[in-house]
Subunit: 383 residues, 4 copies
């Protein structure tokens, strides 16, 4: 069996693994526009292979159901589709069983296809599909947490799967010298279009923390009244705090004078030594301001990344998500992949406890809106 086939199967299996603790009901809702239903994730990742691989490369392939292209396509951009996007949580049919049957159908044909010759072009699109599915695996975890974590009964997803623990093994500041650094992906492996185009960036001397901000440090920030002090916050961050009555990271609850947090293993006490997560960029920036320090840029982070531990928290940087000098949108639907989101989002670097194996590298550029808290996002300071 070829390694591409193995990679395909292992990725596809991992998605199913993530969903195993779910009940049928859990696959359905879309509580906020940014968190898609589990059913949609598992169908959409399947649709990707049907649309971009099987329909093109497997002669005589018959689509499982022609409606599915319409229902599970996040790319086709029209008014109708946009309406549909916010309505994903209302689509009870096709059912979960049908969507798994769709997966099985596509998997069988994919494996048939991958047993034969796999020209470079085909391998490339399959690898893209695998990485696409890995991205959705991470969203699956965080979207499931969002749904269960907003249930007043705080149901457990899986025993032992809290995912919020993690102590800093390193401490202190790392000094990086002024100079020209090579930034961006330049190897042979897989990479997204947004990280390609190795280029030079001039960095002034800076220091970056070897450790992530801990829950305990953030509790000090809360105790100091930071959520009530507008001078620490960006103008629109302050509006967000007022409008949504934000008083802590997402999933935190003050019960009888003690901070608790919802985890995938249920409600647990906040451990002051663990690395903080579920903060927005707004909160990360305010915390840095309060400390008299700052967030690193994505270039500083990348230049220094070989010298500290990372991989458990997505780390907010002080860089906006914009194109690298040589960025070029691919033509066609695949070209909609990353480029169209290059506005009003901030870059996160690293990876998180929800990131799939083999899906992280130090040139990876993740991006979310400044107010987003539902990822396992944390803070590393610079100065």
């Amino acid at each position: 069996m070829s390694s591409i086939s193995e990679a395909y199967q292992s990725t596809r299996n991992h998605t199913v693994e993530i969903c195993k603790p779910l009940r049928t009901e859990d696959y359905i809702p879309q509580p906020v526009a940014f968190a898609s239903p589990a059913k949609w994730h598992i169908a959409h990742t399947t649709w990707f292979f049907e649309e971009f691989v099987l329909s093109t490369y497997l002669p005589g392939y018959q689509r499982f159901d022609p409606d599915f292209a319409y229902l599970f396509n996040s790319y086709y951009n029209s008014i109708g589709e946009r309406t549909l996007r916010a309505e994903r949580g209302n689509l009870t049919r096709p059912g979960v069983d049908q969507v798994y049957a769709y997966r099985a159908h596509v998997d069988a044909h994919m494996l048939e296809l991958l047993e034969g010759d796999t020209p470079d072009e085909l391998r490339e699109i399959v690898v893209l599909g695998i990485n696409h599915e890995q991205q959705h695996q991470e969203l699956l975890v965080t979207d499931i947490k969002y749904i269960l974590g907003h249930n007043p009964t705080f149901p457990q997803y899986k025993a032992g799967a809290s995912l919020v623990n993690g102590k800093n093994a390193q401490t202190g500041w790392l000094a990086i010298a002024e100079g020209i650094y090579d930034i961006g992906f330049s190897g042979n492996g897989f990479h997204f279009d947004n990280e390609i185009g190795a280029h030079k960036v001039y960095l002034h001397a800076f220091e970056i923390s070897r450790s992530l901000v801990t829950n305990g440090e953030f509790i000090e920030f809360i105790k100091a009244g930071a959520y009530q002090d507008f001078s620490l916050w960006l103008d629109e961050a302050w509006a967000w705090i007022q409008a949504d009555d934000i008083k802590s990271p997402m999933y935190w609850h003050m019960i009888d004078g003690q901070w608790y947090q919802y985890t995938l293993d249920g409600l647990q006490k906040v451990n002051p030594l663990d690395a903080l997560c579920h903060v927005s960029y707004y909160e990360a920036a305010a915390f840095a301001e309060w400390r008299g320090q700052r967030l690193p840029t994505e270039f500083e982070w990348e230049a220094a990344s070989s010298q500290f531990d990372w991989g458990e928290r997505w780390e907010w940087t002080n860089s906006a998500y914009l194109a690298y000098p040589n960025f070029k949108k691919v033509s066609g639907a695949i070209g909609e992949y990353n480029g169209k989101f290059m506005i009003n989002q901030m870059v996160l670097r690293g990876a998180s406890v929800a990131t799939s194996n083999g899906h992280s590298r130090n040139t990876y550029r993740n991006f979310f809106h400044a107010r987003d808290q539902w990822q396992f996002s944390g803070i590393r300071l610079a100065k």
Copy 2:
């Protein structure tokens, strides 16, 4: 077995019957604030008996799960609860199985209780619970239709269950003489607090149609450009048409020059001879205006109701939902039943194809907002 016990069981069984064609997924979503999830309906009707009957009348009764009072109580009125109301569709736990276990638990205890002595006070509250559940049965049908009918694949709920057919057996106008009429419930059977207090109403002579407006008549209205002619519409109706781009009754679709409608049996051609349904008060009033006629008041309707067929469509009247002269709110949570909705809603009289057996009478006052289309609501004209 006592008749109250039989009535209880038959009502409870009917709810389960309605849900039989549903898949687990169908129980979950709340696509709009006014349409609650099926899971919520079956749990909430159960909660009613647990809260108002078992907790009071069955000594030593243990609640199935203390959280359920919070999750499935539509009465407790606080900010928290209001937030929860719009979030019903995001509650995946307790699951459908648990909610049916809750039903079984409450049913077993209810039957135990009803086997013994049933003092009047107990019987009254059980009968209220039965009627409350019958109201939810109707909402179950219309909410299920809403969810399935907004799925782009138009899934069938049950073969043969379209519910939209229905021809007028009678025709022509019925003349009612001027005079004083007795209005409101005055018998011995069950009735809601809003229909009690028989009182006199003076009616001027009027004529009321023996037949309901048909699909064919409404198609004429559409063809005449009525949805584009503001002079036919109430001011806020016109705003609604513009904002929501309304062009037909709910569930109607123009396909290749022919009107189709989603029914519980899937997509079907609109039959011009069937009685129209799924129109808002706005549409009913505009149609009457276009005809140079008007809608009857709820008093005219009630006074004439023994002389025409009714029962397949809720019929919009030109009466606002307000208190009868002797209306008195019951104290406590039960008092929130009807009185608090007496503002900005219009009265519908009759009953519909989704109304449970034994749940209709000519003094029954149903009420919805003027824009609501999702009930099996139709039009009877007066002049």
Copy 3:
């Protein structure tokens, strides 16, 4: 000079009189959609005479400015116009001077026209225009109060013009016997289309208060915690209180433990003996509920109105604004006058301190939304 001409002039002068204390700046804003700018009121009332009188009855009449029909016409119903409606406060041109020149132009031609023969049809439309302008005079006063009253510096409109004083001369309850009453306008004078069609209404015996609810009585209601007790409020009233953080009648401010209110004479202490005003229907209904009484229907009010003092507060009734039995919309633009608002508004009876002389009668039906507080609206109880 004919009496119609005198009536015209006196009405037109009164509008100018109301605006005299205004500065140019005060004519411009539209702080909420329901409160039109003073400039718009004085132009729109002028446009009415140009459009419906001069253009039809004065041969060779030249419009002052063709754009004005578009800018100051509240009737022409299209998407464009609706956008414009909320934008009235942004129209700085034509300026206040131009609008007064427009008034002068139309007045000169109206007086010329009214010097000659005035056939019945012409007189009727002129009288309608006069009454239309009187309605706007009342809105002018309340809209001016809204603008100045929401300025943090509480500017005075005119010394001695507070308009909120008024003691009840009568006390006690008036008993009205059961029977058939004639309701609606039946005389020869001016009346609106919504009050025409005298008809019989059967009333059960009831009692109605000779006095209006006072500020002092309402302060008791506040002190009793009524704004925090959901059981007193209609469901949507409670939502309104939560969303808008309502804690008192409009214009009331608690300063150093004492209730003050903004009046057209500036900020003043609330006098407990004065008749309450600036309450919504929601507040009126909750107050009645708290007292264990109710609001009268508009029919009860009219039947009893000759036996108590009224005229300083618009009084909320428990009747929805709907058509009388013989209501018939006039064809054409004039037909849009009242009928199109007959949904989701409540009837107020009486008149207020802001009502122009000669503009009140006991058959007059005013109507506002249940949440509206900015009129001089008060409470009379029934039981």
Copy 4:
């Protein structure tokens, strides 16, 4: 007379000059949250000197009116103030005359103060106030244009003041070599906190256009159907186009097959040879995408700026508005000046026809939201 005094007077006079063509009415409205009333601009710039200069440096200074600090302070950040911000257009009092009296009062005291010794610290804050007022002068022009340009009668602000003309004197592409460039302000003159901190930036070789995109080029883009082709647009740009029905730059109107635009001199034909203005970042980015080119970064722009003409259009860059490496917020209210807006805005470089004399330099960083069109913003391409 000292030069600081002269600079003060000349700046203050220029503000008054800009407002001369306004009528009193024009000073009032705030048609959208981002466009403040002219009255507010002239009062707020005055308040700056009263608050930060006179109150501190002129012994015994008496404030003109204590309320003004509350009304015209854009800095004091509380819930109350935020409410007030959107309500600026409803504040009819203090009137325009009073606000000019406030100006005169502050000017008299400022000149008295500036006649004496002016220590460095005082001079610095006065120069900041002058530059602050110059910023507001530009906003005054564009906000006035917004108000008059959204009036359906398209009133003229001043004859000959259209401000939209401007031909490119240069053409062709300018090649800039790869290397390290010094970016940011490093001289002795005035500068804002956001441009300070000269630092090195590595630029790869690029070409930048010597000319701005013209109206004619943009008409080609429109004719090619670009506003209907989602593939050219950023994801949220496409949502903006759909939601707001955007079809052209702001102020453009298609009349009888010809493009017209509102100018401060009234409605005029669009001249294809003039430099385009009033486009959003979204439109600038889509235009570049359509051309197969891109927008320059702010660093590229600054590095090349000595070799092309600029100064008539603010030019959108592909850089987000973020802190320079050594950015440090000043403590106190002055510190709120720029830093708190460093999120979700894009940088514009250059200056515009509305920029005051002496207020432009090639290190100046202007910033607006990606959807903003109301500035004189244009497009310069890079590749």
